[in-house]
């Protein structure tokens, strides 16, 4: 198990290194120059050259990469070219916002998706068909569009929930419960958007996994022993169906982060995704790089946790007898 974990960590590190190198090349090869954007159209060529030299952008690509990497691992993430703020400070605010959004929606959508999928796998054909149509539709909803529609209904028509940012304008003046309420109200719509779509995907998968397990001989044996249907589902079906489901959670992390990028853009949620979109558009190299590293590390770490989860739930893997 430990050796397995070690290999996975190593592979994860290689993936992060690859993502970082690829991103570095892609952003620099992209047309568009952060210096021109920074100095504006009136800058003379001499001014542009001086600013480029000051930022180290006049050196060869390999040298720039080496310098950036050496500084990055020492914790010097540089300053945003567009805003002048330190990158660590920019992302320090953004990472908790994204983790809160993605993490909460992941937990909620899998809990609810498990419930719906389990219900479906044991239900009659009519209930099953209705729920299938519902989950397929939820799964098909583009996050940004669902977000807009929810904002239209709950913000513009009903005036119930805010649809912009993580806090209200008066957030600093609020204390105690009203401060918490303000946070939660801003959290509601982005969370609902990501979770509704997530439930669709999770329920579809859980239904399939549970059907597969249900058709196996040991389930028939358990039923023949006279166990109650609930006990069969919980002890024999759910436990086995959970293994592919937990693996799926890990595999769906990149997609979830991708989805969060768009949902953050719709609701102006101050997370990593929104920073990344802004930074790519402004060719703000230091911010793009740092945001990519953070995203890649979060995804890889999530996958590792998933591996541990699978091992925890499956004794064959936990004791090192099974293969993954």
């Amino acid at each position: 198990m430990l050796a397995h974990l070690g290999t996975r960590t190593l592979v994860g590190a290689v993936v992060v290194a690859g993502v970082v190198t690829l991103t570095f090349l892609l952003v620099r090869l992209a047309p568009g120059d952060p210096v021109e954007r920074l100095l504006g159209p009136t800058a003379t060529p001499a001014q542009l050259a001086a600013q480029r030299r000051a930022l180290g952008l006049d050196r060869p690509l390999a040298a720039q990469y080496a310098i950036w990497l050496a500084r990055f691992v020492r914790g010097d993430w540089g300053r945003s070219i567009a805003t002048g703020r330190p990158v660590r400070e920019l992302l320090g605010d953004a990472v908790p916002a994204t983790v809160a959004l993605v993490g909460t929606s992941l937990i909620l959508s899998y809990l609810l998706g498990l419930a719906v999928g389990a219900w479906q796998s044991g239900a009659g054909p009519r209930v099953d068909a209705t729920l299938s149509v519902t989950t397929v539709t939820l799964f098909a909803l583009p996050g940004f569009w669902l977000g807009l529609m929810l904002a239209m209904a709950f913000t513009y028509w009903a005036h119930w929930l805010p649809a912009f940012g993580a806090t209200g304008l008066d957030a600093n003046a609020l204390t105690g419960w009203s401060r918490l309420a303000d946070r939660l109200r801003h959290f509601a719509l982005p969370l609902a958007t990501l979770t509704l779509i997530g439930i669709g995907g999770a329920a579809r998968f859980v239904r399939g996994a549970m059907r597969d397990v249900r058709s196996q001989a040991f389930v028939r044996t358990a039923e023949a022993k006279g166990l109650s249907p609930f006990r069969v589902t919980r002890r024999h079906v759910a436990r086995n169906a959970l293994i592919p489901v937990i693996t799926l959670i890990g595999l769906s992390l990149p997609a979830l982060f991708s989805g969060a990028v768009l949902v953050e853009a719709v609701f102006a949620w101050p997370g990593v995704g929104r920073r990344l979109v802004e930074a790519v558009q402004a060719r703000d190299y230091p911010v793009v790089m740092a945001a990519t590293v953070v995203t890649a590390v979060l995804v890889v770490a999530g996958n590792l946790l998933t591996d541990l989860g699978v091992a925890w739930i499956d004794p064959r893997i936990r004791r090192g007898k099974g293969e993954t």
Partner: protein, 280 residues
């Protein structure tokens, strides 16, 4: 295959896709034919659905802020969205089949390298990669197709790899090799045709995914550029007018959901029909 036609999911999927494709192909016949034309902007903008304007033209889905007919833009947007989606899926199929086929049939370092590459690209957050690729050049439909195709081949490669590996051990493949055929010929003529069934399912699901991602990119402003209508940039332009003209953003979104649901149901039905062990 026969059971497929009795499957209601497949019927729904084929019907929706046929209607949308038909409307897109017959664009000028079923709409006003000019998605970007603007008349008297002040008099014709933000007309609600099912309204006839002062010049007598009927707007089944209303008009947007420039007085353009939303139904016409939806039909022409379908052309863009479907073309981009289909071409992107084809590109990802070609890359996926080649990578998966080669990895499945050439053991050793080639396989290891290709599988590592597949897992690597699979671990990347796709939208981040798409954003970067889309930032590489001036946004255009061709760029979106390339970006979607090059970030969408991994699941196909994995499927084909698994399939090819199991087929390679079968007697008929050994027979073909024993006849002295080149390995490339054995792969292309004897193995791949048998390995393509799961790819069909993956293509149906991939189409829905590609159309959604195209819309996402266009929504963020790095995909298909206005005034050419695509469902994504229509939703983006309707975003600012959600309060006084919600139909501008709602219509393309509903079309998008319908098409994606159709693709998913068709994919599910194909999967069940192609799986010999599956009984309903």
């Amino acid at each position: 295959m026969r059971s497929l036609w009795r499957d209601r999911r497949a019927a729904f999927g084929v019907a929706v896709l046929a209607i949308v494709t038909g409307a897109a192909v017959a664009g000028p016949l079923v709409s006003s034919g000019s998605p970007t034309v603007q008349h008297d902007v002040v008099a014709t903008r933000f007309l609600p659905p099912l309204v006839t304007d002062h010049s007598g033209s009927f707007h089944p889905l209303g008009t947007d802020r420039f007085g353009r007919d939303v139904w016409t833009r939806l039909v022409y947007g379908a052309r863009v969205s479907l073309t981009v989606g289909v071409l992107a899926v084809l590109l990802s199929l070609v890359v996926g089949v080649v990578v998966g086929g080669v990895a499945g049939f050439w053991p050793g370092p080639v396989r290891t390298a290709l599988l590592a590459l597949t897992d690597f690209v699979l671990a990347l957050p796709r939208v981040v990669l798409l954003l970067l690729l889309a930032a590489m050049a001036r946004p255009s439909a061709v760029l979106v197709i390339a970006a979607l195709g090059l970030t969408g081949w991994m699941s196909v490669a994995r499927l084909v790899h698994g399939e090819v590996r199991s087929l390679a051990a079968r007697p008929f493949v050994e027979g073909a090799v024993a006849l002295g055929l080149s390995r490339r010929r054995v792969l292309a003529r004897h193995i791949l045709p048998n390995a393509l069934t799961p790819v069909i399912v993956s293509a149906a699901l991939g189409l829905g995914n590609a159309i959604t991602l195209e819309a996402s990119l266009s929504f963020l402003g790095v995909g298909v550029q206005p005034p050419t209508p695509s469902w994504g940039n229509m939703i983006a332009s309707g975003r600012d007018t959600l309060v006084n003209a919600p139909w501008v953003a709602a219509a393309p979104g509903i079309a998008l959901v319908l098409v994606v649901v159709a693709c998913t149901l068709l994919g599910d039905a194909l999967q069940d029909a192609l799986d010999p062990t599956f009984t309903r």
